[in-house]
């Protein structure tokens, strides 16, 4: 299945980290050279956030209730929109196959790619969220909670989404299928993420929500790269 790997354990550990770092640096460099694609995702987030008040009401109290959910659903959709970037181009030009054949473990390379994906598409959304939250009337502390929940939650979206993106490589109607596969898996992240802001506004503690998001992030970071790497290998067969 895999290519030749360094034999001794130390070599493999170095190999895994080296593979992660290499994939991270490579994908970041590519992202920096295709900045306009990244700007599209951030702009998409801003536009979706703008649509909800137009579709409902400019009433301040309603928007205050809707706000956290809208900002989170928009983050989900932006993440979904950006997922094909993760593997599709590398799959199309054969780079992904070379990565699978390289001596580095594929889950490490996939981890690096996911990290780069979050830094280039998730992090901008996290940074934009406070600005997007202002028109919804959220105050400073609530925005802080929202930012924290997005900072913990959006990496989970990239990790889970990577599995869906890998499973739909080279598949008919990949875009719509990806949404069907990934969005149901996002449900817990959405509930805990938007719930953190709701809990804060209701005067309850946010520790439970943020702890659960953190636990989910750790579990996803450990498990998802292996599932995504297995899915990549299936796509390459």
């Amino acid at each position: 299945m895999s290519g030749a790997r360094p034999q001794d354990a130390d070599g493999e550990r170095d190999g895994a980290l080296a593979g992660l770092a290499w994939a991270l640096a490579r994908d970041l460099r590519i992202a920096l050279r295709t900045r306009s694609e990244l700007a599209v995702i951030v702009a998409f987030y801003a536009v979706v956030v703008t649509l909800f008040p137009l579709a409902t009401t400019p009433d301040r109290n309603t928007l205050l209730t809707l706000g956290p959910g809208v900002l989170w659903v928009s983050a989900l959709l932006a993440s979904l929109l950006s997922l094909p970037r993760l593997f599709a181009a590398d799959f199309a030009d054969g780079t992904l196959e070379q990565m699978a054949l390289s001596p580095w473990p594929l889950p490490a390379i996939v981890s690096g790619k996911i990290a780069a994906h979050w830094l280039t598409t998730g992090l901008p959304v996290v940074l934009l969220a406070p600005l997007a939250a202002l028109p919804y009337g959220l105050d400073g502390d609530a925005i802080g909670v929202l930012g924290a929940s997005l900072a913990l939650g959006t990496p989970i979206l990239s990790l889970l989404g990577a599995i869906g993106a890998a499973l739909t490589l080279g598949v008919r109607g990949a875009g719509g299928l990806l949404a069907l596969l990934v969005l149901p898996l996002y449900v817990p992240v959405l509930i805990f993420g938007a719930g953190a802001v709701d809990a804060f506004r209701a005067g309850l503690g946010v520790d439970a929500n943020l702890s659960l998001l953190g636990a989910g992030l750790i579990a996803a970071a450990v498990g998802a790269p292996f599932a995504a790497a297995a899915a990549v290998r299936i796509a390459l067969d």
Binding site: T168, G195, A227, A235
Partner: protein, 248 residues
């Protein structure tokens, strides 16, 4: 002993067995369903609080249980398919997905009809309803992924990974949804707080549960037979269909 079981991992030896077992389970499902419906609709008393409307429980609860249970069985076969690379395990998982989706859809549908007279609404964003709906979406996802991939062996493994990721997520989704709902408001009517059931009600529900169980097994076995014939049509153990003679 063990070898005789492994023998049935081969589609060629499993197919005739499944073809013979499926009608047995279908007959059992029919008998159990007739008995269960008789007990449920004729023998069982009218519920003190919900009147006659409660009788939909005899369809609703068995289908809801099967919707969850079939996903577990599907995950089990998917794990076997990935672990041992056995074709038949993947075919079983493939055969179970539509059955599970039907069960989830039936549970939601009957739940809506039950909710209308008792809760006054078809849909209440109750934790169980919402997680069953998401379970239905997961079934749709597995079936859609299967349909989008032409190579059946690749589809087997892709669907197996998706099923297992979903299986890890199902309990998380269930508890997150339950938590979300309790944050907002408690359900107005709770099943767990309902008065203890009369013995005949329980008997009717158990009969219907076994009927649903037998029906799922029969449907999955018939479907797996069709899948085996479809996928192994080039194999020599399948006698060529006389209708296809000369077609090559």
């Amino acid at each position: 002993m063990a070898n005789s079981w492994y023998r049935y991992a081969s589609p060629a030896s499993f197919h005739p067995v499944a073809l013979r077992l499926a009608p047995v389970f279908a007959l059992a499902a029919a008998i159990l369903a007739i008995a269960g419906l008789y007990v449920g609709f004729v023998v069982a008393p009218t519920d003190a609080t919900q009147g006659e409307a409660y009788r939909i429980i005899y369809v609703h609860v068995p289908t809801a249980w099967m919707a969850m249970f079939v996903y577990l069985v599907m995950a089990f076969w998917s794990a076997l398919a990935l672990g041992f690379n056995t074709r038949l395990s993947a075919m079983m998982a493939q055969a179970l997905a539509p059955t599970g989706a039907i069960m989830a859809a039936l549970a939601l549908w009957t739940g809506a009809f039950w909710g209308r007279p008792t809760w006054g609404t078809y849909w209440a964003w109750d934790a169980r309803m919402t997680s069953t709906l998401i379970l239905l979406f997961l079934y749709f996802g597995v079936m859609a992924l299967r349909g989008a991939i032409d190579d059946p062996r690749r589809a087997d493994r892709a669907c197996a990974i998706l099923t297992l990721v979903g299986a890890v997520n199902v309990p998380i989704i269930y508890f997150s949804v339950r938590w979300w709902n309790t944050l907002h408001q408690g359900a107005s009517v709770s099943l767990t707080a309902a008065p203890t059931m009369a013995k005949t009600m329980l008997a009717g529900m158990l009969l219907m549960t076994f009927a649903a169980w037998a029906w799922c097994i029969a449907a999955a076995l018939w479907r797996v037979c069709a899948i085996v014939v479809e996928r192994e049509r080039g194999a020599s153990w399948l006698a060529p269909d006389p209708a296809l003679k000369g077609v090559t």
